[in-house]
Subunit: 148 residues, 2 copies
DNA sequence: AGTCACGATGCAACCAGTTGCAACAATGCG
DNA sequence: CGCATTGTTGCAACTGGTTGCATCGTGACT
């Protein structure tokens, strides 16, 4: 699950600041973590990392920052098949949208880009007259090394 | 969000029974509710309905029955964009797989069947050598009556 | 730099979902 | 039809996420 570092550093901070969102120490820390993350992180992981920088951050602030980012369409939220409890995972939104596959045996998460995914979105926009803000496709099953 | 009643009544009970799963009063009630539901239900709604039939059912039993059904691939779990909290919604799995669109303004949920969805699944199976057990596509945005 | 308004934070109380465990009951067998 | 086995249930304790509220601090304007 490699997330390429395509964006300029601090782009989440600048993006939000340019929309008039206030920047606090806590937010800067959280945004930095999400921006430079190399895998899909859950809220607890983000909290732990944030507290290394800003020991006073509360988990409430993590959740509130995550919904801020969701509201602004800057991150995607994933279930990854809720393989370990109900928690959700987060990744910054990139121009390359992709499908997530989670192996129900080994837990490995793989990403896959497809024309058909974009095509399906276009079809929904057109045929259902539905204006898409977020689209998420998640698959559970067995990866090539795990299936019998 | 109309769910057609295609299956024979009691098919969840028979299906599970034939796999050697024990049938209890509580389960019978819960399965009946899911089977005859006309919309996507969340755990709390299922609990309330079940308690009308079997006042003693505990919410734990609802959650355990839901994971049983998920394990056996008999229901699908949906986020519906987590529009109201973190809760999940459930629907019985039908032969007609569909995409779910949730309007972020009015909350309306619509379903859409598409060849491209099946095509995308086939592509994943083939190109990624990934054996699919569950596939879920969820879209958030603005329905035709809500967009400006 | 000093003031201010209002958005953001932390805390505590709350609610939804999970897990451990002892009591219970569905099913199969004598 | 009663008995034993073993899976299922309800309860209580717990964990993860949310909400209300008083306090705090950012960023705008002087
Ligand atoms: Mn979810
Ligand atoms: Mn549906
Ligand atoms: Zn695997
Ligand atoms: Zn709408």
């Amino acid at each position: 699950m490699p997330l390429p570092h395509t964006e300029a550093p601090g782009y989440l901070v600048s993006n939000l600041a340019s929309r008039g969102v206030r920047m606090t120490r806590q937010r800067r820390a959280i945004l930095g973590i999400i921006e430079t993350a190399s895998h899909h992180l859950d809220a607890a992981q983000i909290l732990r990392k944030a507290q290394k920088q800003e020991p006073e951050v509360d988990r409430v602030t993590i959740y509130r920052t995550l919904s801020l980012l969701k509201r602004h369409g800057l991150i995607d939220e994933l279930d990854l098949m809720h393989l370990q409890g109900e928690k959700h995972f987060y990744e910054r939104k990139t121009p390359r949208e992709h499908v997530h596959m989670t192996c129900l045996r080994c837990g490995r998460v793989t990403e896959f880009e497809s024309r058909l995914f974009d095509g399906l979105k276009k079809q929904v926009q057109k045929e259902c007259r539905f204006q898409i803000a977020v689209a998420r496709m998640e698959i559970g099953g067995y990866c090539s090394s795990c299936r019998a």
